[in-house]
Amino acid sequence: MTAVLETPPKIDDRRAPAPKSPQRTLSRVADALLTGISKIAAIAVLLAVWEAAPRLGLVDATFLPPFSTVVQAWWDLAVSGKLLDNTQASLVRSLSGFGLAVAAAVPLGLLIGWYKPVATLLGPLLEVFRNTAALALLPVFVLLLGIGETSKIAIVFYACAWPILLNTISAVRAVDPTLLRLARSMDLSGFRLFQKVILPAAVPTVFTGIRLAGAVSILVLVAAEMVGAKAGLGYLINASQFNFAIPQMYAGIITISAIGVLFNQVLVSLERRFTSWRVPVGA
């Protein structure tokens, strides 16, 4: 009996994933293909309905032109260079606000999460502002900063900062207490503790906040551009509607969605890279 128990731990290796066999790889590829197809299928159906509904007279083609007409309009906008100019204007604002928010909210969140006095000091303030919708403050930003770039970047910054800040704070607070005890038992300095334990432990949750902020940055920007702007995708959509250029309006909307999806995809793959050590979901 003991002889069995003393054999190397390979036998009690139940939780370790089995080595890849060619068969498994094959079935995995098939799985990926299948999910890929079903993902595309839903969108294809949506587009088909969009194409068919106006043509069959189910909806008014003036307000919802067939998808092919919208694609044509999108192409014309792209060729004329208008699309690029507006996209660029939006992206610059969006990414600046988002980047500034990451740069400011992550360190601030770490500070608030770790130092009780800072949390006590800033807690009530946070409570008030996090419950005030960013867009409700848009007029205030316009009043204070004008309708130029500053106010747009500022509102994106403001809206993006919240998810990042709140997630970072809870990330620090949720660090496994046994890890803190371990670090303390090893007499780690405050700086090393932060660098080697708190920061890496917080990364996944911080990234969740960053991903949320990515979506927020586009949402808020479009709204801001609709209120007062001379360029940007929000402006393009709003102006097209105003001029009754409905296909162009949809072209703008599609571009926004595509950018949103792309941005999210980039953030998700970044997140994967940094948190590859995490327990796979469902394992």
């Binding site: 003393e6 009690d12 090893m186 007499d187 080697k196 394992a283």
Partner: protein, 273 residues
Amino acid sequence: MSAHIEFRGVTKRFEVKVRGSRQHTEFTAVDTIDLDVERGEFVVLVGPSGCGKSTLLDLLGGLTAPTGGEIVLDGKQVTGPGLDRGIVFQQYALLPWRTAQGNVEFGLEATGVPRRQRAARAREFLDLVGLTGFEDRHPHQLSGGMRQRVAIARSLAYDPQVLLMDEPFAALDAQTRESLQDELLRIWQRTGKTVVFITHSIDEAVYLGQRVVVLTSRPGRVKETVTIDLGDRTKQDDLRSSTEFARYRHRIWDLLHDEVSRAQQQEKEVVGA
């Protein structure tokens, strides 16, 4: 000549809130503990749950300070944590973002072992706990027993004089636990470390300890110290079913029996209050 580790009248009280009021009362977790541990000795502390075993280990680890008395390690009073003591926690406390190798190196980073030596040293200690070939696995890819092996390797790697273990095998299944007990005895013999081991399992206490210190239920005091004379466990087959083993087990069971029922009584009183 004074002992390697000395507990001299160690008492620990906690301030606890009285429910439904703002007042605090004092709560004695461990009470005037006197205990000597020799260098290289394997001492097991056993007692009913809640009797202050973990509190004692925290005190020895320097994670908390005693309310009364003192703990002396090699003639110096313990005033804080240090790398001369390595703690192995029941919950393993592995860094999930690091591999087995990285977790062992984590211990070495604190001691200032040069980077180049760290990797080799970590591999050496993973080998000691039987984990060669698993260096690149992350904790979630390891079984519970293997995780605890990594944690033991980490504590040993930075070469503390004393290994403090707080119910390290309590979360493992019986077979894994027994194989790890053998492994631990083997490592102890090879490295000559002083081990202070906590458990609430009588079998584990008898199997591992050269001396078993039986604690009373709350507040924890030393009830009796039993010297276990079973020779070299690793050289014997099926020691657990020998009559000698049974005798020791019964003796400690006797000592603990009253304490366990007293502890359960206390729990009932707390719930009923």
